[in-house]
Subunit: 294 residues, 2 copies
């Protein structure tokens, strides 16, 4: 499978999994953000992780799509006026700009339980023990121990960083916490569930988790660099906002040059993890090359 084949498969499956039922406006709002044009990184990682550990990637398709829905949920709520107050996402108006704030809150809520429902309804090839494991992984990553922890500390860090002193010893730790939970946790969820579906061993799960953690941090550093150096036209969202708001980011803490250097190092580490463990994957290579900024 090539990257575009995976993406097409994911897009078609999302279409199939998300009919517009009654009450129509809520299902439309849910689908709106899930189907915005995107790179589908997380579902592709899930499918590829299943494949490299010897599984049938089709068995991972409902889980892969559910993780994209969870990702969309985080975007909808992060964009709300009371959070990041963003008007554009992937070049389109954000959810609350189209459907109103109340429906955007409820669409996010609905996706949080719709996503695992899709897994249970459509994973007939997986036994109930495996499904329970996937549910556990999903709840851990989606909740207050996962992506929400990252978002909470991110919001709270805005206050810290307004008066922030670059020598503050706590800042690197806080930043690493935010990036781990806000970004790497969903990468790890995608990779780990794909591996679990393929019956990967504990050792293999450890390896793919370390890969996901490293890739997640790299991805977030790249995102922070692009926030400073790109335009709206290139990225489809308002850029330079983090800096303007004095947010704690990798570039605000370490500067552009060191950020690029550390990004390169983390990408190299990802390649090494794959090589050392004989995990050959054109897909993972392609993702790593896309994220890297020379």
């Amino acid at each position: 499978m090539k990257m575009n084949d995976y993406i097409e498969l994911v897009n078609n499956s999302i279409e199939k999994f998300m009919p517009i039922n009654y009450p129509h406006k809520i299902f439309k709002a849910m689908k709106y953000t899930v189907t915005l044009p995107g790179k589908r990184l997380r579902p592709v990682m899930c499918l590829e992780s299943c494949k490299i550990f010897g599984g049938n990637y089709e068995d991972a398709l409902p889980t892969a799509c559910a993780i994209e829905m969870l990702h969309a949920q985080t975007l909808i709520h992060d964009d709300l006026p009371c959070m990041d107050n963003d008007m554009y996402r992937r070049g389109q108006l954000t959810n609350h700009m189209v459907f109103g704030e109340a429906h955007a809150v409820l669409a996010g809520d609905a996706l949080l339980t719709f996503a695992p429902q899709i897994i249970l309804k459509n994973s007939k090839n997986l036994d109930s023990n495996k499904l329970i494991k996937i549910m556990e992984e999903y709840f851990q990553a989606a909740g207050a121990y996962g992506v929400i922890a990252g978002q909470v500390v991110d919001i709270e860090s805005e206050k810290i960083s307004q008066s922030f002193d670059k020598d503050d010893e706590q800042l690197p730790e806080i930043l690493s916490y935010i990036h781990t939970h806000k970004t790497a946790d969903l990468f790890k969820l995608a990779l780990r569930t794909g591996a679990i579906i393929a019956n990967a061993s504990e050792k293999q799960l450890e390896i793919i988790t370390e890969f996901g953690q490293t890739l997640g941090i790299a991805f977030q550093i790249a995102d922070d660099i692009l926030d400073e150096t790109s335009t709206f036209e290139e990225m489809g969202k308002t850029m330079g906002k983090d800096k303007a708001e004095g947010k704690l980011t990798y570039t605000s803490l370490y500067g552009l040059e060191k950020s690029k250097k550390d990004l390169n190092k983390l990408i190299s580490k990802c390649f090494n993890i794959l090589e050392e463990n004989h995990l050959q994957s054109d897909i993972f290579n392609e993702i790593l090359n896309r994220i890297n900024i020379k």
Copy 2:
């Protein structure tokens, strides 16, 4: 078990299931609304349903508490400024008034996946097939086919009812839809999961579902009556708001007198369901007597 024993058991278990982990503010916000003084109707229904169908109510305790957490989630988000914009709940400030809007949104999000996580972590006596069934019931009731559908149509009905004509044929249907999903769905979730844990038969599940549906509508009619006839001191929340905002309610559609009459009828129907099916329960009797308004 008496009502107060159940309530104490539920309160103690919630205390045990909800430690204040890092990031502290989000766990505090989650716990704040869950532990507001309340009647614990839904968890008590879950435990009692398990008991009357021959199960061990202790096996249902994590599920019962999870349903109270889900209920709290709906309250937190319904109270938000972009929804019902309520400042008080159970006599205390609402979640966003204490923790801010961003944290209130995230606390609700977190509860949606924390609740089923509590079930999976603490239900060691239940096999994985039963756990999957409980997850399916939970997702169905919590999401866009359940309580969120009710909230969405409730919000949308405000516009309809501003210019509403009492002879409009659609209104009774819309109102019944709102009450079924916004209220009865969580009652049915509590009763059905309790019954499932007790290995109830399909026929028994049907009976308890009909009981929950009838009780849920009765409860909502009583709530609509009290919204018109009670004070803040009696109810712990701002009253008369629905009427002031021209919301579609049972009393606005049918008037106080017919509302009370219909409430009495539904309560009688609930007693009949229990009697016809030889389901003796002092707890259910007590709940029915409490809801009734003569």
